[in-house]
Symmetry: C2
Subunit: 238 residues, 2 copies
């Protein structure tokens, strides 16, 4: 059974302010919940329609699951997890910075890409959508259990600190196919609608991009997650 | 003003059965609507909060727009367009087949990718989501005006007919980086959850895929739109 208090809290966790207040987030669906259970992230509650063996598991009715789910179509399992306190790792060769990404589906897809290509962290501007947003978690397909997102307010100082070759991804930049993209580097991707913020943009000289193969009257831009995918592929292709 | 009849029809067009019945679809947002107006696709009605000069334009109040929009957050402009009758073009070097893609956001993103890489058509199985689904149109970012989707029930016969080298995209396939991906070819991508249908799969011998760069405990798969992006990049990179 889900208590009234639990129900209230889970619904509140849809909002970032409550996730920050309680230090908790919600994940739904077998794949994501299993990946989180098998990670270092601590499980607070686990609600399941079916019988499962887990010390935190509680069996609930479908009608109860419907009430606590953050989605229109609920899953068979919902977990409440503690937001982990993961230290920034500055030893990685590759750094990906997301600046102002607002679509949680895009963020989740990029987290999944990091996991596929073996990158364990992602640097985000503070106006990038929260990685514990329900839709970001869903589209990460469990990769949120293995990739940490770090929200950094002063990105310019951070960039100076890690001190690696830095590139901004922009339309009309030098073609990414011209020179082999280096793994030892920092790559900055801007928001879907506004691109990279002016402050950051003016401080990064190297502009690179995916050439538009249709010279006239084609798409004006690519979705940010598909751009990141192509960059990853170019960095790691062998 | 929006008449009661128009309002009813526009709301009905959220559903595929009414889009098929009336031969119409709805597009919202300045970018998408402008791209459609500037294409060969015929405009039936145009509703705008602002004054615009177009023979089919009608100025409406924000409260009216709210009522007809297919989205929670309405745009300033909504157009109703005729579903075009575009002939299949079998002369393209490259053919992309989507088999059972159910997420409209993914379909729209793939339409946008086709447009970026200069491909004017996409072949879809009949159980792939409708390209005139509101979310597919939205995520195509106007590319739906330039890329046509053809839904083919007997894909095996179609594949035989176009008679090109054919590849199925699968995890654990031969690395796409091993040999240059040919533009003259057919590439088949399966659904997000079930992969390529058994019938199609058993009839295609060549299995290729994006290698997983994290050998242990990483993401199990990639989002289909990001996979298509990487394939496009490998086909066209120079």
């Amino acid at each position: 059974m889900v208590s009234k208090n639990q129900q209230k809290k889970i619904i509140q966790l849809k909002q970032k302010k409550y996730r920050s207040k309680f230090g908790l987030f919600v994940a739904e669906g077998e794949k994501v919940v299993n990946d989180l259970i098998n990670s270092k992230i601590e499980c607070e509650f686990l609600f399941s329609i079916r019988n499962i063996s887990h010390p935190k598991a509680l069996k609930v009715k479908e009608s109860e699951m419907k009430k606590i789910s953050h989605f229109k179509n609920h899953s068979s399992i919902l977990g409440v997890f503690k937001i982990p306190d993961i230290k920034l790792n500055n030893r990685n060769k590759l750094t990906i910075i997301l600046d102002g990404i607002s679509d949680p589906g895009n963020l989740g897809t990029i987290i999944r890409l990091c996991d596929w290509f073996g990158l364990d962290q992602l640097i985000c501007s503070t106006n990038t959508v929260d990685c514990y947003n329900p839709k970001a978690i869903q589209s990460s397909m469990g990769s949120i259990a293995r990739v940490s997102c770090h929200y950094i307010s002063d990105l310019l100082t951070y960039i100076d600190l890690i001190n690696k070759p830095i590139f901004k991804a922009e339309i009309n930049g030098t073609s990414i196919y011209k020179n082999q993209l280096q793994e030892y580097g920092t790559y900055v991707f801007g928001s879907e609608s506004h691109g990279i913020s002016e402050e950051l943009k003016s401080n990064i000289k190297n502009k690179i991009g995916i050439p538009n193969f249709k010279k006239h009257n084609g798409a004006e831009s690519l979705n940010v997650a598909t751009s990141v995918a192509i960059f990853f592929s170019e960095i790691y292709r062998t």
